[in-house]
């Protein structure tokens, strides 16, 4: 095999071979990589853990055998504890579903939460909510684990000493009564769209007219709103219709990923990209961005550009479209690319869309408004709505607070949510300033860095523990309903504020209910019940689009006033796909979910292009020192193919010092070099420290050596050769040496994954982890190749390592009809079900791992250690009771959520013994997929959606030539490039 380039793949008889590779080591085919690949199991995956010698092992075994004899005589007594008084409609053991709301960035997504006997166990999207449509993001899914975080803020603390709420009330009530007009009172609050919190805020500010209300969030959309302020003279929120757009150009906007607080853009975009017959068309996406994001991965044309050069691209685009010339002499080397994009956009005027990301300065957003006006997109694919009155940029508000604090004008500071000490720009030095405030009160879910410097640190309820509300992006009121009583002594933001300011309602339920009850139509009680059931208050008016014309003169002035890009290496700050801004730092699911592009787990890194790395003499894993202004932070380097040159990207939310046992000391703090001048990006310098830092990433694990695993083509090629994917590899007529199963009868389960719409966002990975009680193994175990995720999102780069394209390929057990794993199992622990599932009987498994060795897809996962051992009692509440928790020494893998199939089957039987309907069984991954790329169903039913998809020309099975006959098949990836740029 060394004579053949393993990365070269012939996708179709009539196309050029293409290089597919997953890491630079693989591309270079280094000895290290080959060694890794050719071991039966990844390095040291087969050895025992080093701190236990064989001898200790034998001693332990002898002891446990001895004890086993003593305990086996007595049958342990188990109790059944029924309720004293029954609860209406509650059936023990039957899950119940309630609607609630998850808020990120002040925007609500509707959820439907599965509760088992009073404890929430699984989060799904609310199908009735316009911004969820039945799906939930990886963050929303993982927020469940935050509820059961054993290191949460649990009790009121006064300077590190545990107190009671009564102690706080005794102190707070006279204190707040004596504040007079509140001249020296400040509220620092996590931004929220909650109307009920706004009502309590209104009350607080009328009681203390001298007080100030400051809102701050480290990842906000202020630049976009400020851009509208420039262009339209009023602050407006921008909304995009990705479904209606035939050509989209994104300027540093990861709208499919971390820059969108909801998953609606993914739904819209994937609807416009889905190709189910050769007559179908798909939209075209151009992306200009510094680092590789999931949006960039979906691009038909991607231009890597430093964040500071994006403005030049925007200005050149406007010029090419025949609009204003705002570029003063600056030129861009990408003239041809921009001209082609401009022509394409113009050809689809009114049905095109140009968008800019939250990291770009306001003037670029204003310029984009002009571009969309030039293209006639305003009111078509772009609309604007009003923001709440009195809007001011958060950073400006925070700077003002810092100045007030420095001048000693603040005597009482109330911080509601967030972690400003960790997330605020480092030049504001909030930690020291907070310490000087005589009375500082923090309400937070986490026992975090801010809690360390305030006088009173109070526990906040998790959103699944309390009543609340929030608005969706279009203003739809979304009710946040609790699933469980507060596990600890938490209070919600409005509850604490009501307590401090003597609001008319005290209980969170009353605060929320009274906010909406009066405005409900008809039978109010009935309407309120319906709102709780649906999760939304349907009768409330939605935000009306504002029609306005951008002022070219103002935009031009603002553009001219833009701060020029500095010299030196550009440093970019991004949300991280794991910890986001730090709120998921103590969440093991998010820490272990591989970052979609780098596949890095349990860390962040300085991403830089291969060329920049060469220029700096840096390799992946070198520890760098990054300096911006006077601030410095260490950060390991990671070479990211496709990154812009002379630029590095670092993600926030790591390097936490006080968050809990999972997140403490994980990664490095990018926030240490984030200043108010370089809030999103700025120029800095990079120096080598000479030290190395180990990074755990999953990109080389389970590689597949140059076979056509992913199959892709252009839309045009597909129109001429719709069955190209079937001819990528020659499948001879195959027969099996074993007795073949028959699959004619009953339901036969199968899955189709559409590579064309999959964006690789990790939502399925986390959903699967939550549904199937999959353990988290930690950084060290991931480095040994022992990660346990049942779904692996393979990310393949293709062609040029400096500017590659990306395809994401979800890979889980393919449920082969003639499965290679089954024939090698000596104890029949993995066998075939009559419905075509390749089953795992965990209790039969003796751990030979022959099956994993014989699996060509490398999708079997082995419990090398007792990974569930360290889970706390409260952590166990997150487990799904319908799925066994696997022990050490047992093999496991995807089983098509067999527990859901059984549940549906039993329900169908009880319901008059009818067959299971199409769509009645949804696997966890399918249910949550924001792009609806996964379809599961009965392939024996010719009318089912999956049967129709399997008949499509683009449908292919991976490694079919091995006669495994996989039940999971794929629809080939398509791209829609502009012929002018081909």
């Amino acid at each position: 095999m060394s004579s053949v380039d393993p990365t070269l793949v012939q996708l179709s008889p009539n196309s050029e071979p293409r290089k597919y590779w997953r890491s630079l080591d693989e591309l270079a085919n280094t000895p290290k990589f080959r060694d890794w690949l050719h071991r039966e199991f990844p390095e040291s995956a087969s050895e025992l853990v080093d701190d236990k010698s064989r001898r200790t092992m034998l001693k332990l075994m002898a002891a446990s055998f001895g004890l086993a004899g003593l305990t086996a005589c007595r049958r342990p007594e188990q109790k059944i504890l029924p309720q004293s008084k029954g609860i209406e409609d509650y059936i023990p053991g039957k899950p119940q579903f309630y609607a609630t709301a998850y808020t990120q960035g002040g925007v609500a997504s509707g959820l439907l939460v599965e509760c088992h006997d009073g404890r929430p166990t699984k989060i799904e999207g609310n199908p009735r909510h316009g911004y969820s449509l039945g799906s939930a993001s990886a963050f929303a899914q993982a927020s469940l684990l935050n509820l059961y975080d054993p290191d949460r803020a649990k009790y009121p603390m006064k300077e590190g000493v545990r107190m009671k709420w009564d102690d706080f009330t005794v102190f707070a009530q006279p204190h707040f009564a004596g504040l007079g007009q509140g001249q020296d009172l400040r509220f620092l609050v996590e931004p929220s769209s909650s109307p009920s919190l706004a009502a309590v805020k209104q009350h607080a500010l009328s009681k203390y007219p001298g007080a100030k209300w400051i809102e701050y969030e480290p990842l906000n959309r202020d630049e976009a709103i400020a851009g509208a302020q420039i262009a339209f003279g009023q602050p407006l929120e921008v909304h995009h219709q990705f479904e209606k757009a035939e050509v989209i150009l994104s300027l540093d906007f990861d709208f499919l990923g971390l820059d969108s607080p909801t998953i609606l853009p993914v739904k819209q975009f994937s609807n416009a990209r889905r190709v189910e017959s050769k007559e179908d068309h798909m939209s075209r996406l151009y992306v200009v961005e510094p680092s590789y994001t999931v949006t960039g991965g979906m691009a038909d044309h991607r231009l890597r550009s430093r964040a500071a050069d994006v403005r030049t691209v925007a200005a050149e685009l406007l010029k090419q479209l025949g609009g204003l010339t705002v570029l003063n002499g600056a030129t861009t080397p990408h003239g041809r690319w921009i001209a082609a994009a401009a022509k394409d956009l113009k050809a689809h005027a009114g049905k095109s869309l140009v968008v800019a990301g939250p990291r770009q300065p306001a003037a670029v957003h204003a310029l984009v408004a002009l571009i969309n006006q030039q293209l006639g997109n305003l009111g078509q694919t772009v609309t604007y709505t009003k923001v709440a009155d009195g809007w001011r940029p958060q950073l400006e508000q925070l700077k003002e607070l810092a100045a007030d604090l420095a001048a000693g004008r603040v005597k009482t500071l109330v911080i509601l949510g967030g972690n400003p000490v960790y997330t605020a720009p480092t030049d504001l030095a909030l930690a020291d300033k907070f310490k000087q405030v005589p009375v500082s009160i923090l309400l937070s879910e986490q026992d975090n860095e801010t809690a360390a410097v305030v006088k009173w640190a109070l526990p906040e309820t998790h959103y699944l523990e309390t009543w609340g509300d929030a608005l969706a992006a279009d203003g739809t009121p979304t009710v946040q309903q609790p699933m469980i009583e507060p596990l600890y002594e938490g209070k919600s933001k409005s509850e604490l504020l009501a307590l401090l300011t003597g609001y008319k309602d005290k209980r969170p339920y009353d605060i929320v209910r009274n906010q909406w009850f009066a405005s409900l139509p008809g039978d109010k009680e009935k309407a309120w019940r319906k709102a709780l059931h649906d999760g939304i208050v349907e009768s409330a008016p939605k935000a009306a689009p504002v029609s306005a014309t951008p002022n070219a003169q103002k935009v031009s002035e603002a553009f001219a006033a833009l701060k020029p890009a500095g010299q030196g290496t550009e440093v970019n700050f991004f949300a991280s796909a794991g910890a986001y801004d730090g709120r998921f730092s103590n969440n093991a699911w998010m820490q272990e979910a591989p970052e979609p592009m780098t596949k890095l787990t349990w860390d962040n890194a300085a991403l830089l292009s291969p060329a920049t790395a060469k220029q700096l003499g840096v390799e992946s894993g070198d520890l760098l020192e990054i300096a911006v202004g006077g601030a410095k932070t260490p950060m390991p380097a990671l070479i990211q193919p496709g990154h812009a040159d002379n630029s590095i990207s670092i993600s926030l939310g790591y390097g936490r010092t006080r968050v809990g046992r999972v997140g403490n000391g994980v990664g490095h703090n990018a926030g240490a070099v984030r200043t108010s001048d370089a809030f999103w990006f700025g120029s800095g310098s990079v120096a080598k420290t000479g030290r190395k830092y180990p990074l755990s990433h999953t990109q080389e694990h389970f590689s597949m050596e140059g076979r056509p695993i992913v199959r892709e083509a252009t839309l045009e090629h597909f129109h001429h050769h719709p069955d190209f994917a079937k001819h990528a590899v020659h499948v001879p007529k195959l027969f099996s040496l074993y007795d073949e199963h028959t699959y004619e009868k009953g339901a036969q389960w199968g899955m189709v994954i559409d590579l064309n719409t999959c964006i690789g966002c990790n939502a399925c990975v986390v959903a699967c982890q939550s549904e199937n009680n999959i353990p988290v193994v930690g950084k060290d175990q991931v480095a040994r190749g022992r990660e346990m995720h049942w779904i692996r999102l393979d990310r393949y780069y293709s062609n040029d390592p400096n500017d590659p394209q990306v395809v994401t390929h979800p890979m889980a057990c393919q449920q082969c009809e003639s499965a290679p794993c089954e024939v090698v199992c000596p104890v029949a622990a993995t066998v075939h079900s009559p419905e075509g599932l390749n089953e795992m009987a965990y209790n039969r498994c003796v751990g030979t791992r022959y099956c994993a060795n014989n699996c060509p897809y490398k999708v079997r996962r082995f419990n090398f250690l007792e990974y569930h051992k360290d889970i706390t009692e409260v952590g166990k509440m997150a487990h799904n009771p319908d799925v066994s928790v696997r022990m050490r020494g047992v093999m496991e893998k995807c089983n098509y959520c067999v527990q859901r199939i059984q549940e549906a089957r039993i329900a169908a039987k009880a319901d008059g013994r009818r067959p299971i309907r199409d769509g009645e069984v949804k696997t966890a991954c399918m249910q949550t997929c924001p792009a609806d790329a996964i379809v599961f169903g009965n392939i024996n039913d010719p009318e089912s959606r999956i049967s129709k998809l399997r008949k499509q020309d683009a449908n292919y099975g991976v490694l079919e030539e091995l006669n495994t006959r996989p039940r999971t098949t794929y629809l080939a990836k398509l791209r829609n490039p502009n012929p002018e740029l081909a």
Partner: protein, 215 residues
């Protein structure tokens, strides 16, 4: 050099090895027999916190199983009733009886009655009452004549082999679904024949593959 061991050694060793082997096999067999659920679990009759008699309630008074075990046809669990259910009658019936006072205490304080579980399956076996009861498997097939028990006793081994016996030959244990709680039901013809008719009519095919019960 003279021989270290006498000539007999070989023979002694062979016999000893045979004896040890025989003991191991016999010991293993005896252990396997004794530790089988049939020996270990059958007959388990724990002492309950309240001397509740199924014979009195279900047998003599003829209260239907479903009156208390309401979720048996709706969920995986048969569900032991809430104290409230007892109070439906015992609010007035024998309120001063010492055993009933325990019930009234639970009802007044809200503390659950700690019933001791009799029929236990391992955590990895996902038995579902709803599926069985709606198919027409009577309570008596697994729990025996509860209506004749003063103290509830496990009468069947509830081992996997025992489950599979019925899953492979269900006919004898299937009866019309409305009769599942009639523990004393005696058909006037061969019950297996009735079972076969119901199986054909309802298209019942109990799973015998792993994921039928283990997930």
């Amino acid at each position: 050099m003279s021989q270290l061991f006498p000539r007999l050694t070989d023979k002694v060793l062979r016999i000893a090895l045979g004896v040890v082997g025989l003991m191991a096999v016999t010991g293993g067999g005896v252990a396997a027999y004794l530790l089988h659920p049939e020996q270990v679990d059958t007959g388990y009759t724990p002492k309950q916190p309240i001397a509740y008699s199924h014979k009195l309630h279900a047998g003599d008074l003829g209260i239907d199983c479903l009156y208390c075990h309401t979720s048996v046809d709706k969920a995986a669990f048969a569900a032991v009733p809430a104290t409230e259910t007892c109070m439906n009658c015992h609010d007035r019936v024998k309120p001063q009886h010492p055993e009933i006072i325990k019930i009234r205490e639970s009802y007044a304080t809200g503390n659950p009655i700690p019933w001791v579980k009799v029929h236990k399956l391992p955590d990895y076996a996902y038995f579902n009452h709803q599926a069985h009861v709606t198919a027409g498997v009577s309570c008596v097939s697994c729990h025996g004549r509860i209506d004749q028990m003063i103290e509830v006793k496990q009468v069947e081994p509830l081992s996997m082999a025992w489950c599979l016996n019925c899953h492979r030959n269900p006919a004898a244990s299937i009866r019309p679904a409305e009769l599942v709680t009639k523990l004393s039901w005696k058909p006037d013809r061969d019950p297996a024949e009735i079972g076969r008719e119901i199986i054909a009519a309802k298209n019942i095919h109990p799973p015998t593959n792993c994921s039928g019960c283990h997930r």
